[in-house]
Symmetry: C2
């Protein structure tokens, strides 16, 4: 009914909505308006209504959105209404840290397998997960129906790991290595590059002074 192409920006906001709705739900809040959401999440209310309206009519005019119902709907949209399995490659400090975030994901998404190219890591247990060798990746991805991959290896190896994920049939990859990697059409790649993020923040040091020279 709604064959419109949904933009990436919209999809990225959905988990933000979901997270806050879950909070409201825990506080037994029944109803929320786009106004409320906008204030809390620092977004324009019209944008929120528009985002949601891409997927259906979830609100009631004059009333707002039912929190529980909207949670259910967003979970459906994001395909979080059934289990989603994630594999992580690279058990350095960052990789090990992310393994401990399973609880935060809840929502049916879970890191279920961990790999490392270093043979000496094989068998190490991290947060209930046993490190597997890279040779097992294709088999494990199939057996555990893993659809998402996380890359936490050094930059030099990131593209190679991505390629292996793609061969194994993974549909989406989140890359933490500080390098641009490419995937074929149909395999989603997102970059979570904390070093670039920090460097870009440097730009805003004192630039305000130049711009706001006369802001009084």
């Amino acid at each position: 009914m709604k064959p419109t192409k949904i933009s990436e920006a919209v999809v990225r906001r959905l988990p933000i909505y979901l997270r806050y709705l879950n909070e409201l739900s825990l506080s037994d809040v029944q109803t929320v308006s786009s106004q409320d959401l906008g204030e809390k999440l620092d977004l324009n209310p019209a944008q929120i209504r528009k985002d949601l309206a891409y997927f259906g009519e979830f609100g009631r005019k004059g009333v707002g959105y039912n929190v529980g119902y909207l949670i259910e709907k967003i979970r459906q949209i994001l395909k979080l209404d059934r289990p989603l399995h994630v594999a992580l490659v690279g058990t350095g400090n960052l990789g090990r840290a992310l393994c401990n975030y399973n609880m935060y994901l809840k929502d049916n998404m879970k890191i279920t397998s961990v790999f490392d190219a270093d043979p000496s890591k094989e068998g190490v247990v991290i947060n209930n997960l046993t490190v597997e060798p890279m040779s097992r990746l294709p088999q494990t991805v199939k057996e555990k129906e893993i659809s998402i991959g996380i890359i936490t290896v050094p930059a030099a190896e990131a593209q190679n790991v991505a390629d292996r994920f793609v061969e194994a049939g993974v549909r989406a990859i989140l890359n933490f290595a500080p390098t641009v990697i490419r995937t074929p059409e149909g395999v989603r790649i997102h970059h979570a590059d904390f070093t670039s993020e920090l460097l870009s923040l440097a730009y805003y040091m004192n630039h305000e002074e130049a711009l706001d020279e006369r802001n009084e």
Copy 2:
């Protein structure tokens, strides 16, 4: 001379350019074209030229960009030509992992101080950094001239830590906690929320099937 307002999207790409240029420099590549950069970084060459042209004329027509010169210029634009000090609050798994990224930052940016609200963490040494109590934050920020803050505490405490950073005079914050936090005008806040990122990837599972029903 160029009073144009630079968009955030442009600023975010500069570190990406810089990183690849550094690689080229290590391989003794002298010159690079926007074409080359675009292919490697998966960006439109016109966009790259436009991004750079906001800040000056760094290239030579018919030739391209001198790698060393462009590195120097981008470092100047990003204010990486003088030391920038970063403080991190929250020494959980993620915080400790990020402390080990100092080497990747190089470029004059460095995590120089680490804090934790848990008194039992005081004095613990992480990657040559001694954990300080939160009470020391204002003083240390001043003394060490810290301008950027990293937040790796649980979501419930993130806003509070941000407020403390702001009071102490920090100009920009990178928040890893899975929650939206607000800062006053003039203090830059970026969110590096890995859980939202993962949840949004879920959206792309099989959506292609619906769209590409007939792609052959």
